[in-house]
């Protein structure tokens, strides 16, 4: 009897780990293919059939090349792009989180008239395709005479701010009313309640939305391309990658593009690893509210 239960447990456990393995492979394999491609020369990329590791076309021996990585790092634009992307994406995230969480607190926990319209209007801001609003936005930016970085940060609000506001609103709303009421009984102002009690409670939500906005800003291409066009020193990574060219016009340096995208993904992975702790810490915070 007990043995049966145990085998059942083992089967369950194995199935679970198999599932995890499957997710792991599914999520990572295309990225592995990018790494694989980034280690191949043009001739190796053209080989048929494609090889799972870089191999010499003649001898079929394992022979990766780091040529793509070297030329990516030699390209001054790329390193500068990393710096620019970091500045722009970080500022965008902080601004969107700060401003968005105020709005979300107001929309999620305070009573006032015109709440529904406010929610819809904020969402409506992000409902147009980027290409459509680009011309108008470019005109505004020109009028204001903003620097390229600032224009990117501001224009990214168009898609990050409604997102943070909405997600945080839904999380604030989820928090039990009693917390606010008991804080108010203790003599705390609504804003103090927000800052000292609600904000820490929604830490996992803050980290999550922050991360998602950061990546969205980090990956944005069309606005960045346009706003940095006459200020090349402000170009972000996606733009810099798009500016990668082959030796000759029309040649697409696929290996280098893959190398660059691998390099670019690393900082984000590190960032996630760092925030992991915050996300897990949020777990314990979640227990408080019950």
């Amino acid at each position: 009897m007990r043995g049966k239960k145990k085998t059942g447990y083992i089967i369950k456990k194995t199935a679970f780990y198999l599932l995890i393995c499957f997710i792991f492979v599914y999520m990572l394999f295309p990225f592995y293919w990018a790494v694989n491609s980034s280690l191949k020369s043009e001739a190796q990329l053209q080989m048929t059939p494609a090889t799972f590791v870089p191999r010499d076309p003649e001898t079929k021996a394992f022979s990766p090349t780091f040529k793509n990585y070297i030329s990516v790092f030699k390209d001054g634009q790329f390193i500068r792009g990393l710096v620019n992307s970091t500045i722009v994406a970080t500022s965008t995230t902080i601004l969107a989180l700060a401003v968005g969480s105020f709005a979300a607190f107001s929309l999620g926990k305070l009573r006032f008239r015109g709440k529904k319209p406010a929610l819809y209007v904020i969402l409506a801001m992000t409902m147009f395709p980027q290409v459509t609003v680009l011309a108008g936005l470019y005109a505004v930016i020109n009028k204001l005479g903003l620097s390229a970085r600032l224009s990117m940060i501001l224009s990214y609000m168009l898609f990050t701010l409604p997102f943070t506001t909405w997600v945080l609103t839904s999380f604030f709303k989820d928090l039990p009313v009693e917390i606010m009421e008991s804080a108010q009984v203790d003599g705390a102002t609504p804003f103090q309640t927000f800052r000292m009690i609600l904000l820490p409670l929604t830490a996992p939500a803050l980290v999550t939305t922050g991360l998602l906005s950061f990546i969205a800003a980090w990956n944005e291409y069309l606005f960045a391309l346009t706003f940095t066009s006459i200020e090349p020193t402000a170009r972000t990574v996606p733009v810099a990658i798009q500016y990668f060219t082959g030796v000759i016009a029309r040649q697409e340096p696929l290996g280098e593009i893959m190398a660059a995208s691998v390099i670019v993904t690393v900082p984000i992975v590190v960032l996630v690893l760092i925030f992991q702790k915050r996300i897990i810490a949020g777990l314990t915070a979640g227990a408080v509210k019950g």
């Binding site: 001739a43 601004l95 804003f191 103090q192 391309l225 090349p232 082959g246 000759i248």
Partner: protein
């Protein structure tokens, strides 16, 4: 208490904002210093100093910005040309602004500048199909001394760049479609270089069957650009023109595409798909075709001159095994190559159009074109340079191209302006529907004719013999 926190909140908000602005202005600060250091000549810094001391004297430097390509050493060569110009004209600073290599992205960017009537860019590097559409934004270079030099360039290009009698762009470097063939395989199967499409078809079939039997199951006879995009317009125009089917819309604004010769050759091309060309050819652009070709998996390829140098690079599987020829002929008895390449145009919104025009003409001068031909193998647009010994020594391949360029066919971009993009899209979509077997060429071209009438308002006519 609450007020205090509110004030604090606002403060935080304002602070973050100022931080960004400060951060940004700091950066612009370093930018200018780096610019100054890059202009190492003491003279430059001197003028800049006087400039800042007694605000805006007449000796203020004129800044001309050239927006151009950034491929490989292209940017370097453009900067070199700028340096050459600045040495002769110390009161002018020529800045080079690199733009994306992808033509669509570059056009998108230019359109943003032009829509905003931005004076930031003075000289634009434009594709051969853009002069007609963008003519309104550019000055007439004939008024700035281009008249004297226009005859030195390929006629087709000057004609292409002349809109309503105005020369809106000066040719800079050029391109045309070529037939790449595997010399070693032709020899192996005892075949001649094909002169007609029929010969090509036969040769491709023979080699493909032979190579597959020999064990290379990925081998194909002929690869080309069959995706639904501008590249298909180029390829299909070559088929049609070589078969005496005209150039879609003639220079005198007649719609000529719906004719039996065009129908015949497009149906023929459709028969290649899945036989001598892979099914997937209808998804292929230049690079996809080259990837198959350069791995040694194709006997023939239609492509631009750029693939020559790459095919002969050290790690290429076909290094030294191939050569190029003019594209095969159809009924007309003459092959046709679609004209490509880039031009320089001067913006109407420039603050100094005269200086900008001077820079553009200098960039397109024999001196600079020769430098670019020898150091970067950019094909000159000036006819006499194809006999220049230095150029032929640096790249013997260029001599062969002369005949192709002089006979090249321009796309009807100037005649159909400002609707060329619509015309081209309708054309390649029609051809595409035939290639994929959705329609037969007769039906597709009949419908295309109607569509073209809608878009351009032109009348239907007969194609003229070339």
């Amino acid at each position: 208490m609450r007020k205090k926190s509110l004030i604090a909140l606002m403060l935080v908000f304002v602070l973050t904002f100022t931080l960004f602005t400060v951060g940004c202005s700091n950066n612009t600060g370093t930018e200018t210093t780096s610019n100054e250091t890059s202009n190492e000549t003491t003279e430059n810094t001197d003028t800049e100093k006087t400039e800042s001391n007694d605000n805006g004297k007449s000796e203020e430097k004129i800044v001309i910005t050239v927006a151009g390509g950034a491929v490989g050493n292209e940017l370097e060569l453009t900067k070199k040309a700028a340096q050459m110009y600045m040495e002769e004209h110390p009161n002018v600073e020529v800045k080079v602004l690199d733009t994306p290599d992808l033509a669509q992205d570059r056009l998108g960017l230019y359109l943003q500048f032009l829509e905003a009537k931005s004076p930031e860019v003075d000289v634009y590097q434009i594709d051969v199909i853009w002069p007609g559409d963008l003519a309104d934004h550019f000055v007439d270079l004939n008024k700035y001394g281009a008249k004297e030099v226009a005859d030195d360039h390929f006629e087709a290009l000057i004609q292409n760049n002349t809109v309503d009698g105005r020369l809106v762009a000066i040719p800079w470097f050029t391109d045309a479609g070529l037939l790449y063939y595997r010399a070693d395989l032709l020899e192996k199967y005892n075949l001649e270089v094909p002169k007609t499409w029929d010969e090509l078809e036969k040769a491709a079939k023979t080699i493909q069957e032979g190579e597959r039997k020999a064990g290379n199951e990925d081998f194909w006879g002929f690869v080309w650009q069959g995706d639904a995009y501008e590249g298909l317009t180029c390829d299909a125009l070559e088929w049609v023109a070589s078969n005496g089917g005209g150039t879609i819309i003639s220079p005198d604004k007649k719609i000529t595409i719906n004719n039996p010769n065009a129908v015949e050759i497009i149906d023929k091309a459709a028969s290649w798909v899945g036989t001598i060309s892979p099914e997937g050819v209808t998804g292929m652009a230049e690079e996809d075709a080259r990837n198959i070709w350069q791995a040694g998996n194709a006997a023939f390829m239609r492509n631009w001159p750029y693939a020559y140098k790459l095919g002969n690079s050290d790690d290429s599987a076909i290094k030294g095994k191939f050569d190029v020829a003019p594209l095969p002929a159809g009924k007309s008895g003459k092959g046709a190559a679609t004209l490509g390449g880039w031009q320089l145009a001067v913006s109407k919104y420039s603050k100094h159009p005269d200086v900008a025009a001077d820079v553009a003409l200098f960039f397109a001068s024999p001196e600079v074109q020769k430098m670019r031909a020898t150091e970067g193998s950019f094909n000159p647009t000036i006819k006499s340079l194809y006999k220049d010994e230095d150029i032929l020594e640096a790249s013997p391949f260029m001599g062969k191209l002369y005949d192709v360029f002089i006979n090249a066919v321009a796309r009807p971009s100037t005649a159909t302006a400002p609707n060329y993009n619509k015309v081209s899209t309708l054309f390649f979509k029609a051809v595409y529907s035939v290639l994929t077997g959705e329609k037969d060429a007769q039906t597709a071209l009949e419908e295309l004719e109607l569509d073209l009438q809608d878009v351009t308002g032109f009348e239907v006519g007969e194609p003229k013999a070339r």
